[in-house]
């Protein structure tokens, strides 16, 4: 009875520890729209000595550029980029507190941007159960871990590829609708000009004061 209580206590403790670890690692990727003359800030609470990465890419809008500022809790600027299309910045937190990543489109007057952002804090949480046997890792387990890391990078490359493709595709769709609008407008303009010219010319010759010479 005592032994089983001990085991359950240990299991509970281990589960809590793992839950604790899971609670300290976050990775959020968001794609949001940044209207013109707007600034959007995202805040994340980071503990000291945690390696974090901020990654962003502008998907659509204008010249595909945005201003980025990453600030520490004491308002110290850790990273600043002006009119950049995409970048990735890894940093280690030197103090506990709330770090902020701000994206600004204040320099643009009419183009709103679609921005992809990935703010990941800490390492990926380990699978439940793996953390308990940290002393001996079999070759099978370490190979599986390698495969997992490679698949993570494959997924990462896929995300970047998807963003680039989305950029190209939206540009193409934009161009397509613009060509249609432009061709209709131009045809209408040509017709109006032609009819207008004839009407104006007719007007010259129907006035009471006759012109003595042709234009």
């Amino acid at each position: 009875m005592r032994w089983s209580a001990r085991v359950s206590g240990a299991a509970f403790g281990a589960a809590l520890l793992l839950g604790l670890l899971a609670a300290l690692t976050e990775a959020v990727e968001l794609t949001f729209e940044l209207p013109d003359n707007a600034k959007e800030c995202f805040f994340q609470e980071i503990t000291k000595n945690t390696t974090s990465t901020l990654e962003f890419q502008v998907v659509t809008g204008g010249h595909y550029d945005v201003d980025v500022i990453l600030e520490a809790p004491n308002k110290e600027v850790l990273y600043r980029k002006v009119k950049t299309q995409f970048d990735s910045h890894t940093f280690t937190a030197t103090m506990d507190g709330v770090y902020s990543a701000c994206f600004s489109n204040e320099f643009s007057t009419f183009s709103h941007k679609l921005v992809y952002m990935d703010f990941s804090v800490g390492d990926e949480p380990a699978l439940p159960g793996i953390g308990e046997h940290t002393t001996v890792i079999t070759q099978m387990e370490s190979s599986a871990q390698e495969i997992h890391k490679s698949l993570n990078s494959v997924a990462d490359y896929q995300t970047h590829h998807r963003l680039r493709e989305a950029q190209g595709r939206k540009r193409a769709e934009d161009l397509n609708s613009r060509v249609l609008t432009w061709s209709i407008c131009e045809t209408v303009a040509v017709v109006i000009c032609a009819i207008g010219q004839v009407l104006v010319l007719r007007n010259f010759f129907t006035e009471r004061r006759p012109f003595t010479q042709f234009n």
Binding site: R6, G9, A10, G13, L16, L17, G19, L20, A23, L24, E26, A27, V28, E29, L30, T31, F32, E33, E40, C41, F42, F43, Q44, E45, L114, F119, L127, P128, G129, I130, H133, E141, A144, Q145, I147, H148, L151, N152, A155, Q158, H161, R162, E165, A166, G168, R169, A172, E173, N176, V179, L180, S183, T187, V190, V191, A194, V198, L201, R202, F205
Partner: protein
């Protein structure tokens, strides 16, 4: 062992309160939308928490049960697939049935007309294999570590395959759009030339008959 468990529990409780996911501020009447471009049959789980600004302390109240959060999810064809009002803290989940851009919009169910106080929204959106809870699966199906790891790898590979398939579908759409633009430009230039020639001919004919009627020609 029991005291250790108690200490760990205490630390965990403290850390759960401190370890908050990403947060941002919105006005009470403001609407914030996020776009997720996902393949079909992909599960998306969103965890959120809303805090109301407390003017007395100048900070945000730790929990504000009065506010409700309206979550609206639209699929690529602009059809609403989820539209519900949740409490101030909770999670929403949906599975995509068509590949493409899904728009997740959040706004509070405040009835004010003008922008009221600020709201702090903690948000965490997990897509695909990140949305799977492996602890739950390990417990339910009684899998060993290696089996769980293999299950994770299988899920990852499945998600990668779905994404590749979606990539093929998107490339097809891109190609169709480009070919349509090509066609449109060709037709436009031909019709534009025809319209110009027709207008020119009509102008000449009309003016000739006009001047003949005026006895100037």
């Amino acid at each position: 062992m029991n005291t250790l468990a108690k200490i760990l529990a205490l630390v965990l409780v403290i850390c759960v309160k401190l370890a908050t996911p990403l947060y941002f501020h919105i006005g009470e009447t403001e609407r914030k939308c996020f776009i997720e471009e996902i393949p079909d049959e992909t599960q998306v789980i969103g965890n959120y928490k809303v805090q109301l600004y407390d003017p007395r302390t100048g900070g945000f109240m730790p929990s504000s049960p009065g506010i409700g959060m309206h979550v609206e999810v639209k699929d690529p064809e602009d059809k609403t697939i989820l539209s519900r009002v949740y409490s101030s803290e909770g999670r929403f989940t949906f599975t995509s049935h068509t590949p493409g851009e899904h728009v997740i919009c959040l706004y509070s169910n405040s009835t004010k007309w003008f922008s009221g106080t600020q709201l702090r929204v903690h948000l965490d959106i997990q897509v695909g294999e990140h949305a799977i809870d492996y602890a739950n699966i390990a417990q339910k199906e009684k899998l060993s570590e290696l089996q769980l790891r293999v299950r994770q790898l299988l899920d990852q590979v499945e998600q990668i395959t779905k994404e590749q398939n979606y990539q093929r579908y998107r490339e097809e759409r891109f190609r169709q759009t480009s070919e349509s633009t090509n066609q449109r430009v060709l037709w436009w230039s031909l019709s534009q030339t025809c319209v110009l020639l027709a207008m020119g001919a009509w102008q000449m004919k009309h003016l000739k008959s006009f001047f003949e009627a005026k006895k100037l020609v």
